[in-house]
């Protein structure tokens, strides 16, 4: 089996490579792709093994069984159909293909059956959506969901390495009592601040693209196109790990204790919920962990059949690279049947 990792030098791409190795993914050959600038560079792949970065070209896409993409929407829009046309199953971490009707949008533990319908491209959900859906799915299955109101506390690593550097440099300046240089990545200083903007406000929309993604992707993954959701996404000065304050209204009554047991038994989740002992999910604790952490599970006193949850996940890991690798594993395991015409890009949703 030949596997391509496109965007291999980025934070998510390098985590993909690490996970493929650590989870002993059955790849005979692993080929990292990145920009022209990085081509020729050798990536350490453990055990003295080096992987040489290649640039994308029409010839280079030939002969792959799988291609994991984390290289931005533009690259995915252009190159995912080419890998697919050449016979690979593409697992794409960008937002580009997620809402296309014939592209499955899959959380490994939640809707693996959706993989069956792919036509060469499978989409990996948005990081904030991923961790929320992991917690919502068992609740939906048990008690039904009427409505979700979520506010996020998102780390900077989702934006990329330059955002991490910007936060660190600004933090250094503030601690040293120096003026903070004009921000380059975010519209405002992120160090010691909270920005109620994650991604862009498009075409005068009052919701950001991140908020729109959380609402639309959650509906698609849960297969509930009308599910009422309200999202407010904020960026906080955290390096890794997104936190979420989730208010969920269920159809049937569900006690906090029943919810706790339900989520503790659900795959991909770890319940950390002993507030009296100061045990609850933390971004610093979630970073580097595969599981999404859930805690502060409690009844909302303001309305019947409502619960509050605090959900924290590693945005680079389960929020991106881990789920992509899990989907690759599922594709291999299930040898998911594939429709006939792999070459044509899927029709717009």
């Amino acid at each position: 089996m030949r596997v391509a990792v496109v965007g291999a030098t980025g934070a998510v791409g390098s985590t993909m490579l690490e996970l493929l190795r650590d989870r002993a993914f059955p790849a005979e050959e692993l080929v990292p792709f990145a920009s022209e600038r990085s081509a020729g560079r050798a990536l350490d792949h453990g055990a003295g093994q080096g992987l040489v970065v290649r640039a994308l070209s029409l010839e280079a896409v030939e002969g792959f069984d799988l291609a994991l993409f984390s290289a931005g929407s533009g690259t995915s829009a252009e190159w995912a159909p080419r890998f697919a046309a050449a016979g690979a199953v593409v697992i794409d971490n960008s937002s580009h293909w997620r809402m296309y009707e014939d592209v499955p949008l899959v959380v490994a533990e939640v809707n693996p059956e959706a993989l069956g319908g792919h036509r060469g491209i499978v989409a990996n959900p948005n990081c904030s959506t991923m961790q929320m859906v992991l917690a919502l799915a068992p609740i939906r299955d048990r008690a039904g969901i009427e409505r979700v109101v979520v506010s996020t506390y998102q780390s900077v690593s989702g934006t990329g390495q330059r955002a991490v550097e910007e936060l660190m440099e600004q933090s250094r300046a503030v601690v040293a009592g120096e003026p903070v240089r004009s921000p380059e990545i975010y519209p405002h200083q992120i160090a010691f601040n909270v920005l109620p903007q994650v991604e862009a406000f498009r075409d005068g929309d009052l919701y950001t693209t991140e908020e729109r993604k959380m609402m639309a992707e959650t509906r698609k993954i849960l297969g509930e196109p009308e599910l009422p959701l309200s999202a407010t996404c904020a960026r906080v000065p955290v390096l890794q790990g997104h936190s979420e304050s989730i208010n969920v209204e269920t159809t049937e009554p569900l006690t906090a204790q029943a919810c706790r047991e339900l989520l503790a038994a659900a795959p991909g989740l770890a319940v950390v919920d002993d507030p009296a002992a100061a045990l609850y999910p933390l971004a610093t604790a979630a970073a580097g962990r595969d599981e999404v952490l859930v805690g502060r599970i409690r009844p909302d006193p303001s309305r019947e059949r409502c619960l509050n949850l605090w959900v924290v996940g590693d945005n680079l890991r389960k929020g991106a690279a881990l789920n992509a690798v899990q989907l690759a594993e599922l594709v291999v395991e299930r040898a998911a049947p594939r429709a006939k015409e792999p070459a044509a890009p899927p029709a717009a949703a």
Copy 2:
């Protein structure tokens, strides 16, 4: 007029002194009180004026017209009734007296009429509550409120100077690549992290005291004892300024634009709401400002008659010192009538 400021060396107390000076409060004499340790210290009060810090004693409380307290609940519980018995009107920033039935809990712009019923002690609301109520009151007056779901992003300065130092020291260590020392103020590292705990979990309660305060105090200030509210309070690595993601369900329909106009015309608020131009309330922009900032005003697509708001206020200023000074001004202005028996501490709520 003789005015005491109790807790004058703390962050809120020193802001109180600064505001009394800057707003030209008509005090003939201003006496700062603090712990024994600080007694004798001279505080710069501008224009070459020095104020000498005194320690509290039974003799020292005599002869004041007003006493502004920001010295912790224990000090307020013990000393506020003594100042009141000696003839002062006490404006207390601690949580101790807030929920007593015969202690008015007042936001200057929202329910100044409640001052009329005081019996020597007036309570200043919790910082998170204060800024939220400023935004909710005009909405309630116009359209009625059915329910509020709020998630907070609170800065460390509310905890005190040592928390500010802890955040700065931890940030310095992380930036320098050094290990972070065990936290002393918070149960976990606050630098580059989010703690879903503000104040304590008492007696196995699943809500923190801060969350309880937000719910109970909002009801008392708005005079709606049954108002359904759900609060999730989180601490973020921000020095000054609390941010809040507020979801409000109204009784009557209210468009985002009508809400924007309503809040822009309301006292104590400044609407900052042009997201396409990256203009929205920020903690760094609110710090040092008197107004509470409101933005990201938009309809919640998940339910009829629901709006989302982003509200940011300076927790030391409007959230504490400024409102206390405004209340002092109102007391003087209105010479609020006082009940007969000032000596007895108010009955428990």
